[in-house]
């Protein structure tokens, strides 16, 4: 498989995931998008391993490694802080986290708060992705420009 074919395939899988997300909202079935997302990412990983004209070399590996490490270095603080805030909300009741109500709510629960927490996580993850791209651009520039000749 050519590298460009892989990009097309990844984009196609992304479009399918967006569609499946919409469908799972309509039918109120959270497992649909959860499972299909994992399957989609696995398919992308398998396809990535079958690229015949891979352009990775030691320089690009160094850029990926540096950008990933720096992103984690910055973002673990934010994730930890948000998680601590969530823990405070959980332990704020007199006897700690209250037991689940009976009968246990069906999936997805009719509690919008959990959805808002998911939204918060999504915002954090998108921020992380943008930061990673920024670091990648920075290190790509540091370890050699793109062709300027």
């Amino acid at each position: 498989m050519k590298q460009n074919t892989f990009y097309l395939l990844a984009g196609f899988i992304g479009l399918i995931e967006v569609g499946l997300f919409w469908v799972s909202v309509l039918i109120r079935e959270s497992m649909l998008i959860t499972v299909s997302f994992v399957v989609g990412i696995l398919a992308i990983y398998v396809a990535r391993g079958r690229i015949s004209d891979k352009r990775d070399d030691e320089r690009s590996a160094l850029i990926t490694q540096k950008a990933g490490a720096r992103t984690l270095e910055v973002f673990w603080i934010l994730f930890f802080a948000v998680s601590l805030g969530s823990l405070v909300m959980g332990f704020a009741t007199p006897l700690g986290i209250p037991p689940p109500p009976r009968p246990f709510p069906k999936s997805p629960p009719d509690e919008p708060h959990i959805g808002y927490f998911g939204l918060l996580q999504m915002v954090l993850l998108c921020g992380m992705a943008f930061l990673y791209i920024g670091f990648r651009l920075y290190y790509a520039k540091k370890y050699g420009d793109w062709d300027d000749n």
Binding site: D57, E58, R59, S60, Y143, G144, W146, D147
Partner: protein, 46 residues
């Protein structure tokens, strides 16, 4: 000047940008790549 990079990169199994970065002094290759480049270019190395 540019034309040598593509075959050299193919020979070394690296991207053309890597050869360019080494030429510009922005990236220092690993010892393995450095030895292979020196061998390809016929440059002396110790």
């Amino acid at each position: 000047m540019v034309s040598h990079r593509r075959p050299m990169a193919q020979e070394m199994g690296v991207a053309r940008q890597t050869i360019l970065a080494i030429e510009k002094g922005k990236y220092y290759p690993s010892p393995d790549l450095a030895f292979r480049l020196a061998r390809l270019l016929g440059a002396p190395y110790r």
